[in-house]
């Protein structure tokens, strides 16, 4: 456990530990801080066609064992990523996989088209958990829409195609099968869980608007493990496990459960360097400690 893993369509990672989208920027902060080497993959912040400023603050709130975020996909847009960021990834040890977000299938297609000829982009990960898609449903909660999006992107990219699933569905295996049929090379799971934190002082939610945000961190680990177990049982393509991983032992549990690789998210915030440390620990077989 801990060595090279094959995801598919030419995508091989030196080791099974990646940093999760939205928790590692585009890798440059970790590069400056010396936390890049040893990682299997960097999954970038969700990237859209046009630059997005993100939501108004506050954007994060802490809860026991986790955090809520409603960042609003702040990112510089695919053009900056492809032309300015990608050249800086040249020579990096971890594969860089761009997480792609959008409001319509057309958005995903355009971002992936732009990334297709960029050699430093090892793969794309479609974050299909964005609201305001056809039929008033999230793309990621409707098997037909999820499959259609996967197929449309499949048609425009030769890169390995990972689809990242939302856990806020009745049957995650159904969505997983749909994107597998749509041509995904792998799925990653899970994205954040819908949560809310209330402030009695203010008589309203802590975060703006209706207060809905995404829960991540150790609190979701048992839930994420159940989701990954269902996917592993239902799919033939690899499953990349995500959710509350904060140690090599956590990572090992997902891998033993059947995940081909894992991503570490929130833990990067409070333990910078954790992802690379887990990768090393798994490789040295000290993960059981």
């Amino acid at each position: 456990m801990g060595g090279e893993v094959v995801i598919g369509r030419g995508l091989t990672l030196d080791n099974p530990v990646g940093a999760a989208s939205g928790t590692f920027g585009y890798g440059f902060e970790a590069e400056r801080m010396g936390n890049l080497a040893g990682l299997g993959a960097v999954f970038t912040k969700g990237t859209t066609v046009d630059p997005r400023p993100g939501n108004a603050p506050p954007r994060i709130a802490e809860v026991p064992g986790g955090m809520l975020n409603s960042i609003g996909l702040q990112n510089p847009g695919v053009e900056v990523v492809a032309s300015e960021y990608a050249p800086r990834w040249r020579g990096w040890a971890p594969r860089v996989i761009v997480n792609v977000a959008g409001a319509t299938i057309e958005d995903y297609v355009r971002v992936c088209q732009r990334l297709d000829p960029v050699p430093e982009v090892a793969a794309v990960e479609l974050n299909i958990s964005c609201p305001n898609i056809a039929h008033g449903l999230d793309l990621g909660v409707d098997p037909r829409a999820a499959a259609a999006c996967t197929r449309a992107v499949r048609a425009v990219t030769g890169k390995a195609l990972i689809v990242k699933l939302t856990p806020n569905v009745t049957d995650i295996a159904e969505i997983g099968r749909a994107v597998q049929d749509g041509g995904a090379d792998a799925v990653s799971a899970v994205n954040t869980y819908l949560g809310l934190k209330w402030s009695s002082n203010r008589g309203r939610p802590v975060l703006p608007g209706a207060g809905m945000a995404g829960l991540s961190g150790p609190a979701i680990k048992p839930l994420a493990m159940a989701a990954v177990a269902r996917l592993v049982a239902a799919l033939s393509i690899p499953v990349i496990g995500i959710g509350g991983i904060a140690s090599a032992e956590d990572a090992r549990e997902f891998l033993e459960l059947g995940a081909r690789a894992v991503q570490i998210g929130t833990a990067n915030f409070y333990r910078p360097g954790i992802a690379a440390a887990c990768a090393a620990e798994l490789q040295n077989g000290r993960g059981a400690a």
Binding site: G25, E29, A56, P58, G66, Q74, V80, G217, Y270
Partner: protein, 282 residues
Amino acid sequence: MSPVQLPENDLSRARDEAATCLGVEELGPGLHLLTLEAPAATSAALPGEFAQLQVEPGPLLRRPFSFSGVDPNRGTVSFYLRVYGEGTRKLAHLSPGSTVRLLGPLGRGFSLPETSGTSLLVAGGVGAAPFPHLATQLLARGERVRWLNGAASSDQLLPTRLMPGGLAPSVQVTDDGSSGRQGLVTDALAELLGGVDRVYACGPNPMLQAVSQMAARLRPEALVEVSIEAPMGCGFGTCLGCSIPLLLQGAPIHGLCCRQGPVLAADQVDWEGLRRQPAHLE
């Protein structure tokens, strides 16, 4: 996307070290001075920069605090803490000998002058935190340093003994008049601005805005820098949680407090945007 144009801190200076608590001194109601042995931070921390401290067992995320005092001889840094919630409560009750992970220095600090002149430090409550370190560094550069120290009441003022010796005559104000003059820092500000080259302010946002406006009006030639707070998930630019409203060439943008701040030129701050934020982001 904005951040590319505003200057950001250099993350390669940050170290994640296991710091040892040497003690916590109670300075007032809910106010404490935490001293940590943290050699790496000691040799790197500049005034206005901050550290992310992790307490275990304690909250999941680290908490940001400005370096308050830095003693390179002892290899120690100190933090001036106000107990607010779980994290600060735990830090205020650390036993000597226990370990705290310290990630820092982070953020952009105050700009230190190349030539000597007069600096005015304006503190509101626990906002005085970065000033012992700042004053020490300014004095070391031959700067004349005046200090305007304000708080709600006497027992909430940063004790003068924490500041270095050699300050120019300074002024204390309290809302209730229990120490120094009665009033707000802005009541005493006008008379102190004369001849000042630099104004450094830290405290509640409304105070920072008032100080910035008054300084711009009465002493337009002075550099004015303010230290702003935001909830932080990481402290080093990856969570995008610490968004603050800034201005880039006059246009409002979402800046990152942890990398473009926490110290900003007063005219980089979108004060209107800050005012629209929920009050707890004060």
